[in-house]
Amino acid sequence: MLTASGLRSGYGALPVLHGVDIAVGEGEVVSVLGRNGAGKTTLLRTLSGALAAQSGQISVGGLDVTRRPAFQRARAGIAYVPQGRGIFGMLTVEENLEVGTRAAVGSDTTDIRQRVFQYFPILKERSGQRAGTFSGGQQQMLAIARALCGQPKILLLDEPAEGIQPSIVHEIGTLVRRLADEQGLAVLLVEQNLDLVMSASSRCLVMDKGRIVHAIQPEDLKDEVLLKQFLAL
């Protein structure tokens, strides 16, 4: 569904990604692990279009989007939930979800929102509330719900567990797995929380210094010797 090959990008004269190859299939949850500064967030930003690729190729279901601006990639099916969630705090829950449907061009947006509410009953109850008043966990749920409103094929999640209480982290893990299984969503998950990675992932990639250096199975994360070797944790 999502493929990137030879992807290079960075900030100004500072290169961060040195040729990343990655492929995420339909219904697959791929986690990216790695130390701070390995380039995980930069990878997601480059895929979403927030940061331009310097070279390489990104395609969504066969469509080359490398040179497209971020809003067109969103409409092509890439949904991005950044670190810190990127909620529009001054808008209501309902308004956040409505702007989320901007990527679903030509679809019935009311219908989409009703379907998304099935996964997030709490958001329906609080649809008139300002998103900025939500707790971190609720904001994370809203961010994922907003991403789904764009009817994406691919979901890019950057550290959804950051600063969130364990019970909600577990809920997010279950939800991500369900979305992949039931909707065939391709998910690329950047996460430090190993419980979440293990509960949600189909497979894991390890990044270091702007490259993918290992491919491992989620079960391998239980093996501390392997963990030390791959992540130097």
Partner: protein, 287 residues
């Protein structure tokens, strides 16, 4: 009592104009982080539109309809030719728009010649309001301005385009990530602000001296409106224009206009020192 009523209506006239001119500035400031020094020229273009239509034999009302279109066209071209290349360079945008401002002033002078242009008001005379009489045209001006601002408020709060704009103001990168074409939103919003400034120019044209340089005054005052009120919010815009417009009108009654202007600007500076983000800070933008 009569003095108070007249001052109030004078203040409302000034507040209306400042709010209309300030709208475009608060959009470019709050939305795009662009300091547009050519904004005053949209006011001049609006005023010259009315003059030109009248010189061709058209009515004031036709001019009033053409003015915002002329403003929008000028705004659209300026955004497309210059500004969109400078969104990442705020200082470059200041210099570029200053240059554009001079070019537009000189162009108006080249096209229409030197000297003030006459604009005939659509209605003469005064209206009896019971307590006082007040020029009818000024009452019309206040109503049109109030209607326009109300329409803008509804546009921002109730329409999909308004929601897009409020979204882009809060977080441009995220707005783009949810599928909003932020470049197009900028272009439309900028042209819209220019259109409203053109309308303001048309509305003041029977009262003001219509000159190519007339925009400069409105620009300066409107900047104070936006800074005092807080950029990027309609509530802030109304608060700022009420402060600058109200204060100026009250002082104009007591002392010479120049001294009044100086006092108002001094008060504005003190206010900005105390409330650096204006009456309505960034957090509550367009809400």
């Amino acid at each position: 009592m009569e003095v108070a009523a007249t001052t109030l209506l004078n203040a409302l006239t000034l507040i209306s104009i400042l709010a209309l001119v300030g709208l475009g500035l608060t959009i470019s400031f709050g939305l795009m982080n662009v300091t547009n020094l050519a904004h005053g020229e949209f006011v001049a273009i609006g005023a010259f539109s009315v003059y030109y239509i009248q010189s061709l034999g058209g009515s004031f009302w036709l001019g009033l309809m053409v003015a915002p279109l002329a403003g929008a066209a000028a705004g659209f071209i300026l955004e497309w030719l210059i500004l969109r290349h400078l969104y990442d360079r705020p200082v470059g945008a200041i210099l570029a728009t200053w240059g554009i401002s001079l070019i537009l002033q000189q162009s108006l002078e080249l096209i229409f010649g030197l000297g003030a242009k006459p604009v005939v008001p659509p209605v003469d005379g005064v209206s009896d309001l019971g307590l006082i009489t007040y020029p009818t045209y000024r009452l019309i001006l206040i109503s049109i301005a109030a209607t326009t601002l109300l329409a803008v408020l509804l546009l921002l709060r109730r329409t999909g385009f308004g929601l897009d704009i409020r979204t882009v103001i809060q977080n441009r990168e995220m707005a783009e990530a949810v599928g909003i074409n932020t470049r197009r939103a900028f272009a439309v919003a900028f042209a819209f602000g220019a259109a409203v400034a053109g309308l303001a120019g048309a509305l003041v044209s029977p009262l003001a001296t219509v000159l190519p340089q007339m925009g400069v005054n409105y620009l300066a005052n409107s900047f104070f409106v936006v800074i005092v009120g807080g950029a990027g919010s309609i509530t802030g815009l109304l608060a700022g224009s009420s402060f600058v417009g109200g204060f100026t009108s009250i002082l104009n009654y007591q002392i010479s206009p120049s001294l009044a202007q100086a006092l108002v600007l001094t008060a504005a500076i003190v206010l900005v020192r105390l409330r650096p983000n204006g009456f309505v800070p960034v957090g509550s933008r367009f809400s």
